[in-house]
């Protein structure tokens, strides 16, 4: 689609800011809607403060062609624009976020509520957040959180129910907001700080987030990381995926009081995170990925032990999954619970395993290959059900796929150095880094200023795309199945709240 309104780029390919078209917002609006309707996907939609007003950037992905498209619009003295959301539901959170951060009103937005910081100009202690509420004689509301019974992150869930049946679930987040994006810019001269910060965006996706941010920085610095380092990063990323998926299968079993699955998958997870620890000394992979490569090499002995762990795990996971997925009482709970159908999933822009379980073939590893996936292709796996069963089963299938990937990466390791030096960054450039972490697509867009320093970092965790899917999943379900649906998505609060 050659078009003067958009500049074409690839995942991790920097473009100069001056090459990015600046078009009127009406044109940007209609272009985005049109491109998404004809198969594109909204990846990033964010603002950036510059000396002459506010820039609005939109990054779209053409997954089939492995291309990204970026365009922008300048707001100088304009206080509003016509909202996209009525025509493009997947833009709803992006527009709310843009409004919250820059105060430019998306006119006609149907659900202009705070995302994480609060509506501009409104003090929440005076004008409290208003939940959607249902009227009726036997309708009741149930509020859960922000403090929960388990040791989990804070978030508020408001159910509108009739008896046991949920009609609507409204999710209010933002309790975990730490100002991550501002911290990136504020500490741009402290490389180690930035790495640690990216590892902490979502504590369960250390390798995914750190990899995503660091690859963006490397591509701005024109550093080509050695193939060996890419392989080690990929192994760590896939170990992370296996570990979390195993933990999720364990927790899904726990939520339906299925003791066998709960304990067996939990024990298997320990093996995997201990393997990550044998590589870098930390079970969650902290400190492994660094700009220019990795901090820890994999010795031949370690390579052997990882391979033999994977071989044993392969057998045990297959056994445990056979028991779990053939247990009638478990299937009764998983099947046809919390269905998100394909159309709904596509229209709200879901990503990751949850989207693939609803039949949408999106996988950054295959669509926009990065790191080790540039050498070894990955097949996209999808299921059709869109229910809790599909989201559980796709985890099992992905665990097996990840074990194959780890074997391939370890076999194909070159003998280069595992770390290179990183110099200065390109000036006035923009790069988008997409990563398929275990939860789905992580997008980092990094913009540099005229001195080659980081001027803006936009982070998008897959939770940002998928929280709304949870609301859709529980509609019409019994309220007692909410925890199970919630666990089947296992979304991040801190990744959303930033």
């Amino acid at each position: 689609m050659p078009d003067v309104n958009w500049i074409e780029m690839k995942n991790l390919q920097p473009v100069a800011l001056e090459d990015i078209p600046v078009i009127p917002v009406e044109e940007l609006r209609s272009d985005v809607i049109e491109r998404v309707k004809s198969g594109g996907r909204l990846v990033q939609f964010f603002g950036s403060k510059t000396s002459d007003g506010t820039m609005l950037y939109a990054v779209l992905a053409d997954d089939n062609a492995s291309r990204l498209f970026v365009s922008s619009s300048r707001f100088n003295g304009i206080a509003s624009y016509s909202a996209m959301t009525p025509d493009l539901p997947s833009a709803h959170l992006y527009e709310r976020e843009f409004y919250e951060e820059f105060g430019i009103l998306p006119d006609g937005h149907p659900w202009l509520k705070p995302v994480r910081k609060g509506t501009p100009g409104i003090d929440e202690s005076e004008t409290p957040y208003e939940f959607f509420s249902m009227q009726g004689e036997e309708v009741h509301e149930v509020g859960v959180g922000p403090i929960h019974a388990g040791v989990i992150e804070p978030g508020h869930f408001r159910f509108s129910c009739h008896g046991e049946k949920v009609y609507h679930l409204e999710i209010k987040l933002g309790f975990q907001h730490r100002g991550v994006e501002e911290l990136f810019v504020k500490n741009r001269n402290r490389p180690l700080y930035l790495e640690k910060l990216s590892e902490s965006v979502a504590g369960d996706t250390v390798v995914g987030h750190a990899g995503g941010f660091i690859r963006a920085v490397e591509s701005l610095a024109d550093v080509a990381v050695s193939r060996r380092a890419k392989a080690i990063r990929t192994v760590a990323l896939e170990l992370e995926r296996i570990a979390v998926h195993l933990g999720d299968l364990s927790a899904l079993s726990g939520d339906v009081a299925y003791l066998t699955g709960n304990s067996v998958f939990g024990a298997l997870r320990t093996r995997v995170i201990n393997t990550t620890m044998s590589i870098c000394g930390n079970r969650f992979g902290r400190g492994l990925v660094t700009a220019g490569g990795v901090n820890f090499d994999i010795t031949p002995e370690l390579q052997e032990s990882i391979l033999s762990m994977v071989d044993r795990l392969d057998i045990d996971v297959a056994l445990a999954a056979e028991v779990l997925f053939s247990s009638a009482s478990v299937l009764e709970r998983f099947e046809k619970t919390g269905v998100v159908d394909r159309d709904a999933a596509a229209s709200i822009g879901m990503v990751g395993p949850a989207a693939r379980a609803s039949g949408i073939a999106v996988d950054v590893r295959s669509d926009h290959p990065f790191g080790g996936f540039e050498f070894v292709p990955v097949h996209k796996l999808t299921l059709q059900g869109g229910d809790v069963f599909a989201r559980a089963y796709i985890r099992f299938v992905e665990i097996q796929q990840s074990m194959r990937i780890i074997r391939q990466q370890l076999m194909g390791m070159s003998d280069e150095a595992s770390k290179k030096n990183v110099g200065t960054l390109r000036r006035d450039s923009l790069v988008t880094s997409l990563t398929e972490a275990w939860r789905g697509e992580i997008a980092y867009t990094v913009i540099t200023d005229a001195n080659g320093e980081i001027a803006r970092v936009k982070v998008k965790d897959p939770s940002f795309n998928n929280w709304f899917a949870l609301s859709l999943a529980v509609r019409g379900e019994g309220i007692s199945d909410f925890p199970l649906c919630n666990k089947s998505f296992n979304l991040s609060y801190s990744g959303f709240d930033l």
Partner: protein
């Protein structure tokens, strides 16, 4: 009389041990070593030594409910005969007292839950009451079949003459055993009806109603649930142990049966998942079906042609 007192005392103090047994069975299935069989006693003592936090929105109902709850369940224990020894009190129609002593205990839990005004606890209360409306009639059918078969209306005399009987006794025994086991799972809030270990307040039935309790009151509530399960398992032992047996073998066999019943609860909890809330009535209706079948068999025996 001494021995009778001893046996009753045993029934009063043993329930927590059997809870420990369930946990042990589950631990072994999960590949863990598990806590000591006596851990529930330590927990009980720990809770007794703690202070209480009482929500300011509650009334006296909330405070008296746990103690009355234990009292009501103890009253139910009094009319249940221990094999060979019989019950502490018995009179014609005492099973009605039994059913409604348990009913009173449940009523107290439910109104205490409503007293807190919490939407969670209200939800739990509504579930508890909904499922009780299935269990309670089924229990009367169970007792009805026994009363019809033995021509007695007191637990004590029903079980005194139950085993010395007819050709249909084995069949009726099996049907009622399963029936009572389902009742035990429901009344004890165990899998697949409820999940006693979950922290997910939206899925709970019994646990969610007692969320606001702490300290001694919580200890009472946990004890009362354990006692209720023990009482029902003694009824199961009553069905099996022949009334003619002498003291020691009868007592031993009863203890073994109660142990097996609790171990089975642990097995069920290890091997199957909890049912979806909307399907629990179907599971409970199995109890109704089985007890009605038993009743039909007994009726045929008397009024039909199986003689």
């Amino acid at each position: 009389m001494m021995v009778q007192t001893f046996v009753t005392l045993l029934a009063v103090i043993s329930p927590l041990f059997f809870i420990g047994l369930i946990n042990k069975v589950k631990a072994i299935w999960a590949g863990r070593k598990g806590a000591s069989l006596f851990q529930p006693y330590y927990d009980f003592m720990r809770l007794l030594g703690k202070g209480e936090v009482i929500s300011t929105t509650t009334s006296f109902v909330f405070r008296v409910a746990p103690s009355l709850n234990v009292a009501a369940v103890l009253l139910a224990l009094m009319v249940v005969p221990v094999p060979h020894f019989g019950s502490v009190i018995h009179f014609d129609g005492d099973f009605v007292l039994f059913a409604y002593a348990l009913g009173l205990a449940k009523f107290l839990t439910v109104i205490a839950a409503l007293d807190t005004g919490s939407s969670f606890e209200g939800m739990g209360a509504s579930r508890e009451v909904a499922f009780s409306t299935i269990v309670e009639p089924a229990f009367f059918v169970v007792i009805g079949s026994l009363a019809l078969l033995t021509q007695h209306t007191s637990f004590d005399s029903i079980f005194a003459s139950f085993s010395t009987t007819s050709r249909v006794t084995p069949l009726v025994t099996i049907l009622l055993l399963v029936s009572l086991f389902i009742m035990l799972l429901a009344e004890g809030s165990r899998v697949p009806v409820d999940d006693p270990n979950t922290h997910l307040e939206l899925t709970m039935i019994h646990e969610v109603m007692v969320l606001d309790y702490s300290g001694p009151d919580l200890a009472f509530i946990q004890y009362s649930a354990a006692l209720k399960m023990t009482i029902i398992s003694i009824l199961i032992a009553d069905l099996i142990v022949p009334a003619s047996w002498t003291m020691i073998p009868a007592l031993l066999l009863s203890a073994i049966i109660v142990g097996i019943v609790f171990a089975s609860v642990g097995m069920v909890e290890s091997l199957i998942a909890r049912a979806r809330i909307s399907h629990i009535p179907q599971f409970l209706l199995v109890m109704t079906t089985l007890s009605l079948t038993a009743f039909a068999v007994v009726s045929f025996y008397f009024f039909g042609s199986i003689r």
